[in-house]
Every structure is written in C-alpha cells, then in structure tokens.
C-alpha cells in the first residue's frame, strides 16, 4: 500500500514533468500549467495512485486547483503536504 507522502511525491513528479518547476500552491488550470489533454492524464494518475475511480460528483474546481488541493482531496493528505512529504 502506497503511503500518502509517496502518492504526493509521484503527483509532484508528474506535474513538474508536464509543467516545469511549480510549487504545491500553483494554480494548475487557471494558469494553464496543465492543458485539457494533460488534465485527463492527471485524473487517470490520481485514480492509479489511489486505486479508486473518481466519481463525477468529485469533479470540483476547488479540488483540482493545485497539487495541495489534489493531495488533500484525493490522495489522503493532511493540510500541510510540505511537512508530511
């Protein structure tokens, strides 16, 4: 079973691989760091990391805003991912 901090690390690696050096609070969609095709890949990555499908009612703007919000809403993270990582 992957720990929350491992999932966070994999998420960070993926996002930075797509968008370059971004921090955990960078707005991924608003700043267009992630495009619509990459967004689909991101959803698949989250599902892969958690082993669970994302339900339609979980597709909320606030949850996908940044690495931090994805961590908190999907990857089992607490409120301070930098400290837990």
């Amino acid at each position: 079973m992957m720990t929350a901090s491992t999932r966070l690390m994999k998420l960070r690696d993926w996002v930075r691989g797509q968008a370059g050096p971004v921090d955990d609070d960078s707005p991924l969609l608003e700043s267009r760091l992630i495009n619509s095709l990459q967004l689909v890949e991101l959803v698949l990555l989250i599902e892969e990391l958690t082993g669970r499908p994302i339900r339609p009612d979980q597709l909320l703007p606030a949850s996908f805003r940044s690495i931090r919000t994805i961590y908190e809403n999907f990857l089992g993270g607490q409120s301070r991912p930098e400290e837990g990582a």
Binding site: S36, L39, V43
Partner: protein, 274 residues
C-alpha cells in the same frame, strides 16, 4: 425531442400576439412584442454605455479566416451555417463566410495588433445563427438576436466586469419578476465520455449561465487570453484577457411570457432596468 412535445411547445406559443414563427427555425416579431424586444435591448445597451462601451455594428458574416482562427469550425461544426452565393464562378471556394454564430467574434478582429493601455468595452447586437436538430419558437432558433458586452483588458478587469455583469443581470431579472439562478456551464457539445474539453470546462469554469426555468437567457464567459493571443491584442504589454456578457433577446421574451403571459402590454417596463 419527441415530435409531439415539439408541436405542443409550438402550439402553446400560438397565442402570443406578435410572434410569427416559421418552421425553418426563424421568428418575426411585430407590434408590442417587437417594441418590447427593442426596449429591452436598449436597456442592455444603456447599461453597456454606462460602463463606457463603444458601439459596434457588425456585418452578418464573420470575415473569412476568422472562424478558423477562433476555433469555431473545429469545436462547433454542427452548429455552423455558411453563407454561399448561388452563382460563384471566380473559381474560388465559395464556402468562406460563416453567418455570425455569436456576436463577440466580431469584436476581436477589430482590435487586431492593438496595444491598449486601459480596458476597452464594446457592445453589439447581432443576428446569430446556430443549426440545431430541433427548433422551438423563442427558445431554440436557427437565427436569433444576441446583445453582447465585451471587456478587453487585464485579467482583473475581465473578472471585475463579469462579476458586475452577473450582479446587474440578476437585479434586472428581479425587477422583471423573472426567477433565475446562476450556474456554471459546460458546452453540451463536449461528450463527457470522450472529450478532454468537457473535463476542463467542468474543473475550470469559465462560463456561467443565467437560467430561468432551466432556460439559459444569458451567459458570462471568460476567454482568458485566448483571443488576446490569437489576435495579438495586448494590454500594458501582456496578452489581453477578454470576457463577454451575452443576452439572448428571444429567450428573455420567452421567460417573460412564462411569468407574465402572452401579452407584452402587461409586462414590467424595461425602461426601469438601466
């Protein structure tokens, strides 16, 4: 849509005085209904003028090349109606001009290669064309009237404008006695099962709709820097952001009919809006 539902919807509107429906998806308005539509539009235009909006009188078609640059033909080919001459013997492709699908597409080419040092507002009314599987009077027409107010500026200018527009339009509906709610929207064109566009719209809401009984009578849209980059419009050195508030006049009439009955003589006075 079930054909009988469609015919019932059309029959229900036959009592509306001044509405002349044609099954091609077009309506002519006469009498008090026509006067009311005009007064309502002038109220929208007065509000636009109060923001400093300059008027734009658009041609019926988008200039050749503009639909492609705006991505319209790749995103919404099923809605497009082209204007084609019957006789065109100059050897060139006659299918070049798109009948206006949304008013604001006329704005951006007029600002191409401009460098602005402050936000610019424009307003226009256009007859817009959208091909649909089913047409319904005042609700879903092949051609309809759209009043738009467009803001071209920095991102914060556009956000502020859209917020003001949402509040203003909500207040108008209260004055007119039309119940509404605001809801973020996704284009139905995008198939949730297969389209990355749908997911992006859902998670980055750039479009809010003003809904009356489920009918979108207005929308408030942020295009971010898409048109600024496409048409090289810059504000203070950065690609301009754009946003528009759009009002479908026929749908406002339908919302008023549903609330106040078929005779426009008894409807609230639009002169009080702005």
């Amino acid at each position: 849509m079930n054909p009988s539902v469609q015919s019932q919807a059309i029959k229900a509107l036959t009592t509306v005085r001044g509405l002349h429906w044609n099954d091609s998806g077009q309506a002519a308005l006469t009498g008090e209904l026509a006067r009311y539509a005009d007064r309502l539009d002038r109220a929208f235009a007065r509000w636009a003028a109060s923001l400093g909006a300059e008027p734009l009188l658009p041609p019926p078609c988008l200039p050749p090349g503009v639909p492609e640059r705006c991505g319209y033909l790749s995103s919404f080919p099923h809605h497009a109606t082209m204007a084609v001459p019957v006789a065109d013997d100059d050897g060139e492709d006659p299918v070049r001009s798109l009948l206006t699908p949304a008013a604001c597409y006329h704005v951006y080419p007029t600002l191409e290669d401009s460098h602005l040092n402050r936000p610019v507002f424009l307003t226009l009314r256009a007859t817009c064309f959208r091909n649909e599987d089913v047409f319904l009077p005042l609700e879903r027409q092949w051609s309809f009237s759209m009043r738009e107010v467009v803001c071209v500026g920095a991102d914060e200018d556009v956000s502020r404008f859209l917020e003001t527009a949402r509040k203003t339009a909500s207040a108008w509906c209260e004055i007119l006695g039309v119940p509404i709610r605001l809801d973020r929207a996704t284009d139905p064109f995008f198939d949730p099962a297969s389209s990355p566009g749908w997911l992006m719209q859902r998670l980055l809401p750039l479009k809010t709709e003003l809904l009356s009984d489920g009918l979108a009578i207005g929308s408030f849209n942020s295009h971010q820097s898409f048109f600024g980059e496409t048409f090289s419009i810059r504000v203070c050195g950065q690609p301009a952001w754009t946003g528009c508030a759009a009002f479908g006049l026929e749908r406002w009439l339908l919302a008023l009919i549903r609330r106040h009955g078929p005779d426009a003589c008894g409807w609230p006075d639009p002169e009080t809006l702005a």
